[in-house]
């Protein structure tokens, strides 16, 4: 009985929080819709690709509690697959992206079956090692072009109609992919599936005792995360017309961890903000050149020692509502 009056305000605040998130989502979408009028469109497309990549990564760590240190393998695999499909097989862009994403989903299934056998630190080490294996595979495989990568990937015509060589058509596609992916993740997190995932993160033994097949939920989250990371990678390849080893290297896996950590682990908008900050830093501080690695390391250390909530996490705490 005593619980009843408590329940009501909590429910109200949850609805209130969701309203907040809807407003924030609208602001974010408006930003990416209007920003190309002021900012360089290719830069924004890069930000959106990495933001989707980071959101996919955050789905796994923020809601599943699984830290993957090998997410670059999904970004890179989808990139190589879609580049190969578009350039060598002459796939139209929509099928090239789909093919690349499907390859990442398959890779997610195979590596996921191995990785979810261990938890915590071991999960991180295993994903890192598997990603390194993929890196060596792509380094040696004949179709990836080794150090050169796959260059001059044709953007083609979307659905045979829309010529993606126009910056605005390309921008519209990336925008649609990013917003679609973002909303899908948002929907997943708030679905019953997402709730079970959070329960597993909080107390795995309890979730297991309640009858949830914990490993299947984890695997599904892992595959979904890898698939969406692949979608980001395939789209990114069309934007830059290039698939290269950078995208499968462990530094890329570290970069996405950094984006999410800086933006805020487990927050809805953190990955987007983190991607925006890190990509801006790399683009606009180009003169610092080789210092980028050092700066990234310093941000890592500062975030872990004193800023564990991240930018969005701190903002959410300031306004008292989750963002």
């Amino acid at each position: 009985m005593a619980a009843v009056p408590e329940l009501a305000p909590r429910a109200a605040s949850r609805a209130d929080g969701l309203a907040h998130q809807r407003i924030a989502t609208a602001v974010m979408i408006a930003f990416f819709a209007l920003a190309p009028l002021v900012l360089y469109p290719v830069f924004l497309m890069k930000v959106m690709c990495f933001a989707l990549f980071a959101c996919a990564f955050n789905l796994l760590i923020g809601y599943g509690g699984l830290l993957s240190f090998g997410h670059a393998m999904f970004l890179g695999t989808a990139g190589y697959a879609s580049a190969h499909a578009a350039k060598v097989w002459g796939f139209p862009p929509e099928f090239a992206i789909l093919f690349g994403t499907a390859c990442s989903a398959l890779l997610g299934l195979v590596t996921g079956l191995l990785a979810i056998r261990r938890q915590g630190i071991y999960f991180a080490m295993i994903t890192l090692a598997l990603a390194q294996m993929m890196y060596f595979f792509y380094l040696q495989a004949p179709f990836t072009g080794g150090e050169d990568g796959i260059q001059a990937v044709p953007r083609g015509k979307l659905f045979g109609l829309l010529d993606l060589n126009s910056v605005w058509a390309m921008y519209a596609l990336v925008f649609a992919v990013f917003v679609g992916g973002f909303l899908l993740i948002h929907r997943t997190v708030h679905s019953p599936f997402g709730q079970v995932l959070k329960a597993i993160r909080e107390n795995e033994a309890r979730a297991l005792s309640l009858g949830y097949d914990v490993n299947r939920y984890k695997l599904l989250a892992y595959v979904l995360s890898g698939t969406l990371a692949g979608l980001a990678g395939a789209t990114k390849v069309l934007v830059f017309e290039l698939a290269s080893l950078t995208d499968v290297h462990w530094t890329m896996s570290g970069e996405v961890v950094l984006m999410v950590l800086l933006g805020g682990l487990g927050t809805v908008f953190g990955p987007v903000v983190g991607a925006l900050i890190i990509i801006s830093m790399e683009n606009y501080l180009a003169q610092i050149g080789s210092w980028v690695t050092v700066v990234q390391g310093v941000i890592f250390v500062i975030c872990v020692l004193t800023f564990r909530r991240g930018v969005v996490g701190e903002l959410g705490r300031l306004i008292g509502k989750p963002l």
């Binding site: 240190f69 915590g120 630190i121 090692a129 050092v294 990234q296 390391g297 890592f300």
Partner: protein
């Protein structure tokens, strides 16, 4: 002379390289296991600390004229001391948090250290001369054995076994193992556990630095020499499981040998074979060959 269509010279040559690599895998995974046992942290900086060991030996030689043998003694102390400072200033703040934060912090530190060295010294290796006493080699009849390589295998084997002996057979080691099981209780017995943690981290780092000095004459001194190596060592640790000290040593040497054999029979897979073995082990025995699930 040939075995399975492979000239014996090439076969034993690659096996020797495999054993050398295995020595480094064993030393590095041993350090990781010792640190993990007490701190519950996977030390991502391990590769960078191995590199610092090689650089420290190079600085000692080029700036102070201190030779290989002294470097072998001084470097682990210097780099280990730097490690202890890092533990006191940073890692010590994280013990109450999720262990993953330790991984993230040490990853960030590795980026900083490797980035700084790369900015200063580029990515091309700096040669480090072999110590005079160990130049040359001997002909064993079936193969030529360079003296330095024999020394590396012997020295790392001795250091690994000594570490095993100290941890498993001495009183100091029993304190360490007890603190791994239950730090609160050990502290209640009047043992200074925080200091023990600091010293353990320093010791693990010193092992990495020792490996770095030994690697300097073989692989040259390179800011990124530890960056990819540490990922392979992670796979070695997953295969062996971190429960047993002897397990780390055996797995390290064995995987080095297997890698060497792969180079002979199917060179294309030599970079990936350890990761493939890891995948197989995960399917059969997820806790690792010598590990216990924890």
């Amino acid at each position: 002379m040939e075995i399975f269509g492979v000239p014996t010279q090439a076969l034993f040559g690659q096996l020797l390289i495999g054993l050398i690599n295995g020595s480094f895998y064993a030393l590095l995974s041993l350090g990781l296991a010792v640190i993990f046992g007490l701190l519950n942290i996977i030390n991502f900086t391990h590769g960078a600390q191995y590199m610092m060991g090689a650089f420290c030996a190079y600085f000692l030689l080029s700036k102070l004229g201190v030779g290989y043998w002294w470097a072998l003694a001084i470097t682990p102390l210097v780099v280990g001391a730097i490690g202890m400072v890092i533990e006191r200033l940073m890692l010590a703040r994280l013990y109450k948090l999720d262990h993953l934060y330790g991984l993230l912090l040490t990853f960030g530190l590795a980026l900083i250290i490797q980035g700084l060295f790369r900015n200063e010294y580029g990515t091309s290796g700096i040669p480090y001369a072999l110590p005079q006493e160990l130049s040359g080699g001997r002909n064993l009849g079936f193969m030529f054995l360079p003296n330095y390589r024999a020394w590396v295998i012997l020295a790392s084997l001795v250091v690994c076994l000594a570490t095993w002996f100290v941890i498993e057979k001495t009183k100091l080691g029993s304190y360490l193992r007890a603190a791994t099981e239950n730090p609160q209780l050990v502290q209640a017995f009047g043992i200074n556990v925080p200091r023990m943690i600091t010293l353990t981290y320093g010791f693990g780092v010193a092992l990495a630095a020792f490996a770095g000095v030994m690697a300097a004459p073989i692989y040259q001194v390179n800011p990124l020499m530890g960056a990819d190596l540490i990922i392979v060592v992670f796979a070695v640790v997953v295969i062996g499981g971190m429960g047993s000290i002897m397990g780390s040593i055996v797995t390290g040497f064995a995987l080095g040998l297997i890698e060497g054999l792969t180079k002979v029979f199917y060179p294309e897979a030599s970079n990936t074979v350890i990761f493939i073995i890891m995948a197989i082990v995960l399917m059969i025995k997820p806790a690792g060959l010598f590990g216990t699930q924890r």
